[in-house]
């Protein structure tokens, strides 16, 4: 942090940039200069604050005042009133929708109250393009500690004891993954950061990379040391130009300071990172597909085993971790495994970042301890449903997950509880739907996505998802019969059982779960001879019989 009287922090995340936060920065600078305050006040463009619904966000430190929805023309008032005269600009403060109260401190805003930020600790706090700000907040301390005072097996042991599980969706214990890779005998090993965030509606990885790129670089170096790799690769979507730019800046700064490269901290350990670009394929989130894509090939998954830990990038042992997983590593090393393990539930430790979106009042990025209930996330953090409508369902896990209804809102969420109620954690997309949403349409939306993204390698997924999509189309156009519903169900379980990779195995989940909880909505579309009103339950008839009638 620079030694200035006041820092004006302006959110530079994608959503805020889209609503002109760049111009806010420019105007603030111009007016500060015109008023002669540019020497004592600094305008900093930070990473995502997470409160995207209310963007662009401007926070003034050390006064700790939080302004929302700041337009470029508001810059003058902020400088003249707040900076020059020391009065808050009431008009721009966040207004609590229920009590109509103005709130100036961000920790009092309900959106932030229940959050605990570990992975997002620096987002919105530092200038992501300045390595000194990251270091000032304890950055690269963990790497220093690891390289100078810990053995690789101690590092792995710490991560194992912390209970950290993969945040990309699978929930595989990170420490165990590192251990398996470290035990492989090979001169060349790789550690890969999976930043190919394909789930439509999830943007936590991009926000971390945009807001705090160094935390990922530091963690990758730690991981490299632990498993014995001297080369890291970040695989990132080409659709994230801002994240790519900030990563490149961060890499260069880290190299210039000797935090990446040869003999880091004067030890024998050398490590460097390359960036590889994805080109828009959802399946590349699967680790073997990702590795194929890194090699410049079609991103199709391979059979496992051999696992990437045994034979990965160009046949060498490779460890693939997700961005958010990496962002958790430096705090674990610095504050200890026990601290991290004290947060969360019995089997899922720490926090999880969710991209809260859809029909909820406070759209944005939230990080809550594992074990928080969905109700708390949607109503307390998310501020309830837009327009005072009724909650219907929430979809977690994106196209691989399922819907969760009112009856499960009080489930404390972790990897296992979500699976047991028919959804999954996934990468952390959380789409809230209200009473006006048709669930069959939602299922169709996801199927359209998966059939389009299916890589085509295995038949169940390639043809099966296509057929499911066609049947859903037939149903929603009012031509469906009970036989179609039957076929849809059968296909769903067949694809689940026989697909090669996670994409196919989970693709039918949206259909299965909406059928389970919203059967009536499917039935409303069916104008079968046996069910003229479209209602009524389908009693298990002879299948051939049903086919004849259709």
């Amino acid at each position: 942090m620079t030694r200035k009287r006041t820092n004006i922090m302006v959110c530079g995340g994608t959503a805020c940039l889209a609503s002109d936060s760049e111009k806010v920065v420019r105007n603030l600078n111009l007016i500060l200069k015109a008023r002669g305050y540019d020497k004592e006040v600094e305008v900093i463009k930070t990473g995502c604050f997470g409160f995207c619904e209310q963007g662009p966000i401007v926070k003034i430190e050390p006064d700790n005042v939080f302004y929302v929805r700041v337009a470029p023309k508001d810059a003058k008032e902020i400088v003249d009133e707040h900076i020059v005269k020391g009065r808050k600009v009431e008009r721009l403060l966040y207004e609590e929708p229920e009590k109509k109260e103005k709130i100036d401190k961000h920790e009092n805003i309900p959106f932030y109250k229940k959050q605990l930020r570990i992975a997002l600790r620096n987002c919105g706090l530092i200038n992501p393009e300045d390595i000194y700000e990251y270091i000032a907040l304890g950055g690269y301390e963990a790497l220093g500690k690891v390289l100078t005072s810990m053995t690789p097996s101690e590092v792995i042991d710490t991560v194992k004891r912390s209970g950290l599980r993969g945040r990309g969706g699978g929930g595989f214990p990170t420490g165990l993954k590192w251990e398996i890779t470290s035990k492989q005998e090979s001169d060349v090993k790789f550690i890969i950061c999976n930043a190919d965030e394909g789930d439509p509606g999830a943007f936590m990885d991009r926000s971390i990379l945009e807001g705090d790129p160094h935390s990922v670089l530091e963690a990758m170096a730690i991981g490299g040391y632990a498993i014995g790799a001297d080369k890291g690769i970040i695989y990132i979507r080409a659709e994230y130009p801002l994240a790519i730019k900030r990563l490149n800046v961060a890499l260069q700064q880290a190299r210039d300071m000797g935090l990446l490269g040869k003999n880091i901290f004067d030890t024998d350990f050398s490590f460097d990172i390359d960036i590889k670009y994805g080109a828009g394929a959802f399946v590349c989130g699967e680790e073997t597909a990702l590795i194929n894509s890194c090699e410049g090939k079609r991103g199709e998954p391979n059979y496992k085993p051999p696992y990437p830990a045994q034979e990965g990038y160009w046949g060498h042992p490779t460890c693939v971790n997700n961005v958010e997983t990496f962002a958790n590593i430096p705090p674990i090393i610095k504050r200890g495994a026990d601290w991290f393990a004290s947060i969360g539930t019995e089997k899922s430790k720490g926090t999880k970042v969710f991209a809260l979106a859809g029909k909820v009042n406070n759209v944005g990025l939230v990080e809550v301890p594992m074990g928080t209930t969905l109700r708390e996330i949607i109503y307390d953090v998310g501020g309830g449903i837009q327009g005072g409508r009724k909650f219907k369902a929430v979809q977690t896990g994106g196209p691989s997950g399922g819907v969760i209804t009112e009856q499960h809102l009080d489930t404390p969420i972790d990897y296992d509880s979500l699976t047991s109620i028919g959804s999954m954690m996934g990468s952390g997309g959380m789409i809230v739907m209200d009473e006006t949403d048709n669930m069959v349409d939602i299922a169709k939306f996801y199927l359209e996505f998966t059939q389009d993204e299916s890589c085509g390698r295995c038949t169940p997924c390639r043809i099966g998802t296509r057929r499911m999509y066609e049947i859903l189309n037939k149903i929603t156009s009012g031509k469906g019969t009970m036989a179609d519903i039957d076929a849809l169900k059968q296909l769903a379980y067949m694809i689940k059982d026989s697909s090669l990779c996670g994409l196919g195995q989970t693709a039918p989940n949206p259909v299965i779960s909406t059928m389970k909880y919203f059967w009536d909505e499917y039935m409303d579309y069916i104008k079968d001879v046996d069910h003229p009103a479209g209602k009524g339950k389908y009693t298990a008839k002879n299948k051939d019989d049903a086919f004849l009638k259709s």
Binding site: P200, A238, G296
Partner: protein, 175 residues
């Protein structure tokens, strides 16, 4: 794998694909240390240079790298980021992420198709617009989102579409 510099390849120069652009691509490929695993990187660069990846460019890359043309086409057709058709002057991207979908992006894209008279990934007759449906661009707070070039329009309503399209059409007239 062969070192790129060792293969000399004739450039399929034509009106749409001028020699300078091929020269630029050749320089980029020749400057690489190895051609092992760099196909996607080269395709990104080629699309930057040419704007799209027509057959001739794909074949040129294949010969340059000494790999079958089918392998290049396989990669090009696999990834949605690569396009084999020329793009309009302005690309209108409609975010089809889930957050935008539940807030009505499907209606927005249908309206746009109707107004422009094209399907997605097609180019209007005057060569001005290409319509694209894209996966989440990560601005879910502004859903539904439409992007024209790099400019993001948030919380778009159907009534606003004419205005957006006309902004770009009028630019042409004044030029």
């Amino acid at each position: 794998m062969t070192k790129p510099g060792t293969i000399s390849v004739t450039k399929p120069v034509s009106e749409e694909l001028p020699r300078e652009k091929f020269d630029e691509l050749e320089k980029f490929i020749d400057s690489m240390e190895t051609t092992k695993g760099v196909l996607i990187e080269i395709l990104h660069k080629a699309q930057d240079i040419f704007g799209y990846l027509p057959r001739d460019v794909q074949l040129y890359i294949a010969r340059k790298l000494g790999i079958p043309g089918a392998e290049v086409f396989g990669v090009v057709s696999f990834y949605s980021y690569f396009t084999t058709k020329p793009r309009g002057k302005h690309t209108i991207s409609v975010c089809m992420g889930t957050a935008c979908f539940v807030r009505g992006a499907d209606k927005i894209i249908e309206k746009l198709k109707e107004k422009l008279g094209i399907e997605s990934n097609e180019i209007t007759e005057d060569g001005l617009f290409t319509l694209k449906d894209v996966r989440c661009i990560g601005a879910c707070g502004l859903a539904p989102v439409v992007m024209v070039g790099d400019k993001v329009y948030g919380r778009v309503k159907e009534e606003e579409l004419d205005e957006i399209i006309n902004t770009y059409k009028n630019q042409e007239v004044t030029l």
